[in-house]
Amino acid sequence: MVEICIIYDKLRFEERALYDKAIKKNLNAQLIDAKNLILSTSSRKSDLQFGGILLQRTVSYFRGLYLTSCLEFLGYKVINNFNVGEICGNKLVTSLHLAKHHIPTPETGFAFSAEGARKMLNKMGYPAVLKPLIGSWGRGVFPIRDEETANILVETREENGNALSRIYYIQEMVERPPRDVRCIVVDDNVITAIYRYSPGNEWRTNVAMGGKAEKATITNELEDIVLRAARSVGGGILGVDLMEDRSRGLLVHEINNTVEFRGAQDVSEVDIADAILDYAIKIAKS
């Protein structure tokens, strides 16, 4: 029997759905709280009874990333692996990978000081979007419509104690309908796609911000760009987010490493947890 371990730090809908489905599939599944683990350079794989495959599902990006590093050191197979997590967890690194592989993506500038950020904003023009390198759910994503707002936001970022807040990720404001597209990729297949609509008083489309989900058709064009994007970051289980630019068409703007799928599951006939587990079983047996 395949032994599967779901690593979490906060049990969300997704981790519970994966666990319940694993039990239904007669898998030997266990939920492991990442917060309780301690490891060292002397640790051995046999010290932990984690089975053949681990699904990394922590809500804390750094906790999951560095724990994955330790588990891979011990010889465990982890989905997604450290390299994929490192790329997808950081918007700057993701953008570089997308651009390197010629995946259509919004024009994005990077700056490494307050002066650089202002220079980049003046070069790109307004409106623009300032995003944090790390983080999700639209938190810290701000539209900048003029120089005055830019100065306020840059000053706020400079005063923040977090060193990463002084690395600037500035993106063009894409002219799009009030929705984006979320595709869930498992094992080089786009298993489902949804539109996420901005709530009435909000321009961000994140379901966490109250955005509403609606099933989207997986066209050949969408499938092609999404799979190329997923491959560019190393593949696995991913949430690929796209915007529909009015003139350029689909642009990939983000790839999520521990994809949340509650909104997608509500409107999709595909059993997402089941597809993820089938992929995990395949990797465990490989």
Partner: protein
């Protein structure tokens, strides 16, 4: 199963199928707790972590 909220003393209901790690919210004060352990007779809660800058998907 009913558990007393550690913050305000109100009753929090833990569904029978709740598992360790799940988050329960106090219906009165809104405080979040994580199920630390669970047996047939007893559910232990601990304060849930607050949202970190790196939280997400």
């Amino acid at each position: 199963m009913k558990i007393e909220c550690k913050d305000c003393g109100a009753e929090i209901n833990a569904p029978d199928d709740a598992v360790v790690g799940e988050i329960l919210t106090c219906p009165d004060c809104g405080a979040d707790f994580e199920i630390a352990s669970k047996t047939e007779e007893r559910v232990e809660l601990k304060p849930a972590e607050s949202i970190g800058e790196d939280w997400g998907q």
